[in-house]
Amino acid sequence: MKTVYEKSPGLTDVPMHYCPGCTHGIIHKLVAESLAELGVLGRTVAVAPVGCAVFAYDYFNCDAQEAAHGRAPAVATGIKRVHPDNIVFTYQGDGDLASIGMAEIVHAAMRGENITVVFVNNAIYGMTGGQMAPTTLVGQPTTTSPLGRNRLGQGAPLRICEMLATIDATAYIARVSVHSIPRLNVAKRAIKKAFQLQVENKGFSLVEVLSTCPTNWGLSPVDSLRWVEQNMIPAYPLGVYKDIEGGT
């Protein structure tokens, strides 16, 4: 008998603290598998965000630094510039990356910083209890938009891939989802490719992964996957927005 699937060596034995069914855990797995398969775990440095993934440094089986809220791309830049041979990646939520950390992500992209960004978009602030994010859908209620996000005055969801794809020095920008196995397989390939490009010194890569927050969405984990498919994907079309190699 051969093993078809087992826990990745890219993850430590520490049980994750995420809520039941939260897809943060799935995304962790895809990242860990990619690093393990590329054989770079021993030279990888993860940068954890402030957000539900704040303990990512406990889970990824590699060195790690915990960054201030939103500043992971700056921290990653500092690391990468000291050890260009390290594989450096950030793992960031939508509040972290698309709100407070906007300047840092845009400028890391602009510099073509040779790092990989795993961007977990769950359309809400999970960690702090469900406040509105820049990625919250129009009409979606949160604890700070109790009547639903109002396009007038609160604007419409910020589409990070579309925005960053306009930046010259980026190598790879893609949006994926993990709400189904086929989608999860695509997501895995995208994440692995993003790291592969870093290994090849191709520059900045970012994969946005649509993710759930059952707890703050007030949905079961299973219903949350459905919500991603039915509500998030229309607002956040999946696909490759930039590929320096021209592929898809």
């Binding site: 699937y5 049980p15 069914g21 897809t23 855990g25 799935i26 299973v222």
Partner: protein, 85 residues
Amino acid sequence: MPTTTLSPPASSARERSAPEVIFAEDLCKGCELCITICPTKILKLDTTRVNSRGYHPAIVYNLMECSGCASCAKICPDSVITVRR
């Protein structure tokens, strides 16, 4: 950590030997993602007991139908499941 191995009964009449689906049960949070995603719908929560974290753990109730596709394992956020074939 105790794991529950549900391998097929030795007396299986089938040609192929059924795959192994192994749960690191105490890590399970009862989220039901594996249950939903399983194409053959052979998983369920065991509501008769709770694991050490207080959750009803997922189990396979009809392993013989298992295709070994590992969908359950892939989707499980907590890396609870190992699949062998």
